[in-house]
Each structure stands twice: as C-alpha cells, then as structure tokens.
Amino acid sequence: MIRATNLQKRFGAVIAVDGVSFTAPDGAVTGLLGPNGAGKTTSLRMIYGLMKPDGGSIDVDGHDAVSDPLAAQARLGVLPDLSGLYPRLTSREHIRYFGNLQGLHGADLEARIEKWIEVLDLKSVADRRVAGFSHGERTKVALARALVHNPQNILLDEPTNGLDVMSTRAMRDVIRRLKTEQRCVVFSSHVMQEVSALCDRIVVIAHGRVAAEGTPDDLLAVTGKTSLEDAFVSLVGLQGEAA
C-alpha cells in the first residue's frame, strides 16, 4: 500500500507538485490521470525515491520513502518514464542484473526470470542482445526487470505510451494479473480509455494538485457527467480556473 500525503515539489520558480495526497490500496489498480505536465511523473519520482519532496510524506508498506528510500525501493517495482536498456546485454541478462541488484541469486532468481520471460512472451528474444528490439519488446524487458523481485507495489509511468495493440494487451494482462495477486498497482496516464479499462480508483491530477479522487462512478457523480471523458475535462478545467 502506498500513501502519499501533501507532497510538494518546486523547480526554481515553478511549482510542479502542490499538495498531492492519495492512497493506493493493495489488490487494486490506481490510475493517476492528468494532462501532460500536471505533476504525475514528479509525484511518482518522489514516491520511488529519486526526488526528494520539498514537503509532505510518503509511506510504502510502513516504510518512510523520504527518510529511507532504499527500504521503500525494495518493496517497489517501477517502470519509469524512461526505461533505457543496455544494447549489448540480452533480455535475460537485463532481468538477471536487476534481480542481482535486488539481492536475488541462484536457482530462485533463474526460476523468476523464466517465469517473466514466459508471462511476457519474451521467449523468442530471451537470449538476444536488445539492440534492435522493437519498442514493445524493449518495454517488456524493462517491465520484467522491474518486477523480478516480486514487489508488493508497482509503479508504472505511462506504461502503454507508444505501444502497439498486441503489446498494450500484454501490458494490460500483466496489470490485471498483478491486481489478482493482491498487489498495489499505480499507473499514470493521460489516456482516458486506458484508465477506464483498468482502474478501480482514479486520482485526477491537474496543475500539481489532486482535482478529484475515487472510483469512476464517484467521479461521474461528483461532476454530474455521463462519460468519464467529460468528467475529466470538467475536473481539469475547474481546477485550471481555480488556479
């Protein structure tokens, strides 16, 4: 479970995140929905410990991610915005490297690697160097290495960006699978269909603030709209006027 409370982050004069709070429970998919530049990626970066918040607190399964980011990171699996690979390593070596860095070794690690190669349908490219992989294949390798340590909490930053239909389906299957395993999944997106297809809970972020939070039905009720897209536009617009 991830609980973010009143997160603040500014870059010089620009306030990127201005009091974001939300809770992402286990066994549910939480979507961070918002337009580009709303503060989604910055919020996620603070949760996964690579950016220090100017204010607020983050709790990952009882660990304070601000004061002890390494403990939080051990319980997080993250697919960041930029998931560069090493062109001269194979898919399997990528997953093994991150597994090693998470403290996994030997037969246990090899079994996990095999499992993710199977789940993500990477068999045909498992022992090929990743230089020349398609965007879909690259994303799958990045996802596998992020999940090899079976983290309880999974953060995905715009995971389906630029993916083709087949890869998008594979990504959705993984997200559903993680949910049924009672894990806490948070993913950010600016694509409405993506969010409505997968999310149990939606956190609408605009201008560095949380505009609304709840189930899709909650959002419809709050805004009085009949489609999620209209609800989103009205929430983001309202927040814009308020700011």
Binding site: L50, L89, F98
Partner: protein, 391 residues
C-alpha cells in the same frame, strides 16, 4: 559491510564493456601505440646511424683529383656517384643531401705538396644529412693526415712530429641522446595506457547510462549510490590495470628484440624492474578511472564525455612530456605527488635508480586518497536530481 552489489555492478560493466568492439579497439590501440612508437623511433635512429656508415658520395670534377677518388673508392662502405652540374643549387633544392667538389687546381697543388682545395657542399639545417656529412669530413681528414704523413716520411721526418695532439673519441653521440629521449617516453605511455584503457567503461557506464536513459531504472534498485559508483569505477580499474600491464609486457618484448646496446642504452627492463614499474605507476590505474567517472557524470552523452576525457589525457601526459625534454627536473619531493610522482618514479627505475619503498608507498597512498576523493564527489553527483533527470 556488504560489498556484493558493488561486485555485481562491476561484473556487469565489464561484460558490457568487453562486448563493445569500439572499447576493445581503443584498449588494443592504447596498448600497442606506445611500444610500437618507441620501437619505430629507436629503429629509425639506429637506421640513420647505419645509413651514415654506408654512404654514397656525389662527386663533381673527379677528373681533377684521381688520387683522392682512388683512395675514397678503396674505403669500405663508400660509393662514388656522379654529382650535379650546379652543386649549390642542387643541395639548396634538396635534390642532393651534399656534394663533394674537386676544384680545377687540385692536381697541380697536390703535386706541389700544397693544400689541395675540395668543397663539401651541404645544408647544416638538414638533420638527416648531418651524420653523412660528418662521415665524409672524417674520410677527408683521414686522407689528408695519411698523405701528410707520407710526405713527411719522404722528407725524412717522423710524422708524429706533426701531430701535437692525439684525440680519442669518447663521445656521447647525437643518436645516443635521441635514443635516451625515446626511452624516457615509456613512463608516459604507461600512464597514457591507464587513462585510455579504462576510459570507455568509465564513460559508457556513466555518461552513456544517462544518454540511454538507463540511469533512472538502475537507481531504482535498493543499492547505496557509493556502491554503484565504486562498482563502475572498479570495472574501469580492471581495464586500466589490464591495459597498463599489457603495455608494459609489449614494451619489454619490443625492447628485447631491438639491439639497444648499439644505441648506447642498456636495456634495464628485467622482471624486477617491471614489477617496480607496476608498483610505481600502478596507482595511476586506480586514480585515472576515478577522475574519469567523476568527470563523465557531468556529460549528458558519451560524445560529450569523450571530449572531457581528451582534456584529462592531455593533463595526464604533461609531466611525462616535461620530463622527456627536461629529465633533470626530477626531484625527490615531487615523487609523492600524483601524476608527477608516478612519472618521476618510473624515470628513476628506467634509469637504474631504485626508489625507496617509503616513497613508493607515499606516492601510492597519495594517489589512493585522491581517487577516494573523486569517488566521493562522483557519488554526490549520482545523487543529484539534476544529473539523474537532467537530459
């Protein structure tokens, strides 16, 4: 403390680095460049020396001085060829290196036992012809004194009366000095190897990581930053040490194939000297990658990092360059100073002077301390949001 993550990072960077063909070529180049250059230069100096022994003398007006021509033709390694019509112009235009001109009145004056005129036309600014001209002068003066001695004997006088001095040549010739200069380049090439061999891994694992966008995912693993940094450094150190030892081995093999004694140099690269050289210059292989890792953190791309690296290499070879041209400037107080000290110690060892173990240890400790400082700085950089996310 658990160092296992550091080893994991180092192992990965080495695997990655050794699959990089470009990196391998750079290492090979850095290993072979120095020794080949030393061999080439020493060979050339030896060649010039040999070329001066066997000379072709372009002669003008040989009909005027049959005696001298006959004598010259009898000397070993000497061949007379026809000279140009206008000797001075030909030498000035570099068509000939030098020309021997017998003047018209040679025969007449020679017959009368008066000094017979010959001209040696040469261009003293031409390095390559100097040795040959010197050889020609020696031949002429030899002929002169031999003939003079015969004339004195003919007049019943002992030739030794006319010889006030007996000059013996104990010269440190020009070519010996040049050969020594080339020999003094060896420490510089060893230091250069420490910088070039680890450079690819040091930059690819830092600036390259940023460029590929793989730094952010890497930092998501629960590994202390200093372990990541030292792991990357360690991989570069392995390459740097490998490059340096390979350079040393290739150098000693190359030197053993050359006949250095002919050039007046005793080849002092036996096994004890090799080990001492490693002890003296080895710390550079730890220091150089730490500086490279730190500097490369600031580069957003591999290319940008490489331009920083070339400045670093330039700085690294300055002490070596200086000591090639001013070998006297080697003082004991310099020896514990990183960069300068390694070079100074290596020069001493090559010169047959063994440095005291105390100074070797002091020099190594100073280099390690500086390496530690750079690693600490690099660790700080790896924690900076500007560097993690700045692209």
């Amino acid at each position: 403390m658990n160092f296992s993550r550091m080893i994991i990072v180092a192992r990965k960077e080495l695997t990655d680095g050794f699959r990089d063909r470009r990196a391998i070529y750079v290492v090979l180049f850095s290993v072979l460049f120095g020794p080949i250059m030393v061999a080439f230069l020493l060979n050339q100096i030896a060649g010039q020396e040999k070329a001066a022994q066997d000379i072709q003398i372009p002669v003008v007006g040989r009909e005027f001085a049959p005696v001298l021509v006959n004598w010259l033709e009898q000397q070993s390694g000497v061949e007379l060829v026809a000279g140009p019509a206008e000797p001075e112009a030909a030498v000035r235009d570099r068509k000939f290196e030098f020309v021997l001109v017998m003047e018209k009145e040679f025969a007449e004056k020679f017959r009368d036992s008066r000094p017979a005129p010959v001209q040696v036309v040469s261009d003293s600014t031409r390095e390559t012809s100097r040795a040959k001209v010197r050889r020609l002068r020696a031949l002429l003066s030899h002929f002169s004194s031999e003939t003079g001695a015969l004339r004195l004997i003919a007049r019943g006088i002992s030739p030794s009366v006319a010889t006030a001095l007996k000059v013996e040549d104990v010269e440190v010739s020009n070519s010996q000095q040049r050969a020594a200069t080339v020999f003094n380049m060896i420490p510089m090439f060893l230091i250069l190897a420490a910088f070039t061999a680890g450079m690819q891994i040091a930059t690819d694992s830092t600036a390259g990581e940023r460029e590929r966008g793989s730094l952010e995912p890497l930092l998501l693993n629960p590994v202390p930053r200093w372990q990541l940094v030292t792991g990357k450094w360690l991989a570069a150190v392995v390459a740097a040490i490998g490059g340096m030892i390979a350079t040393l081995v290739v150098t000693s093999v190359v030197l053993s194939k050359l006949s250095l004694e002919d050039l007046g140099i005793r080849n002092q690269l036996g096994t004890p000297e090799l080990l001492l050289l490693i002890a003296a210059i080895g710390p550079m292989a730890l220091l150089a990658p730490s500086m490279q890792v730190y500097l490369a953190c600031f580069a957003k791309s591999f290319k940008e990092a490489q331009s920083y690296m070339s400045f670093l290499i330039f700085a690294a070879i300055i002490p070596g360059m200086a000591s090639i041209f001013h070998p006297v400037a080697n003082r004991t107080w310099m020896q514990p100073i990183p960069f300068i000290g390694q070079n100074a110690l290596a020069m001493d060892i090559l010169g047959g002077k063994l440095p005291s173990p105390l100074i070797l240890i002091a020099a190594a400790l100073a280099a390690f301390a500086l390496a530690g400082a750079f690693l600490w700085l690099a660790t700080r950089s790896f924690s900076s949001e500007k560097i993690i996310f700045g692209r």
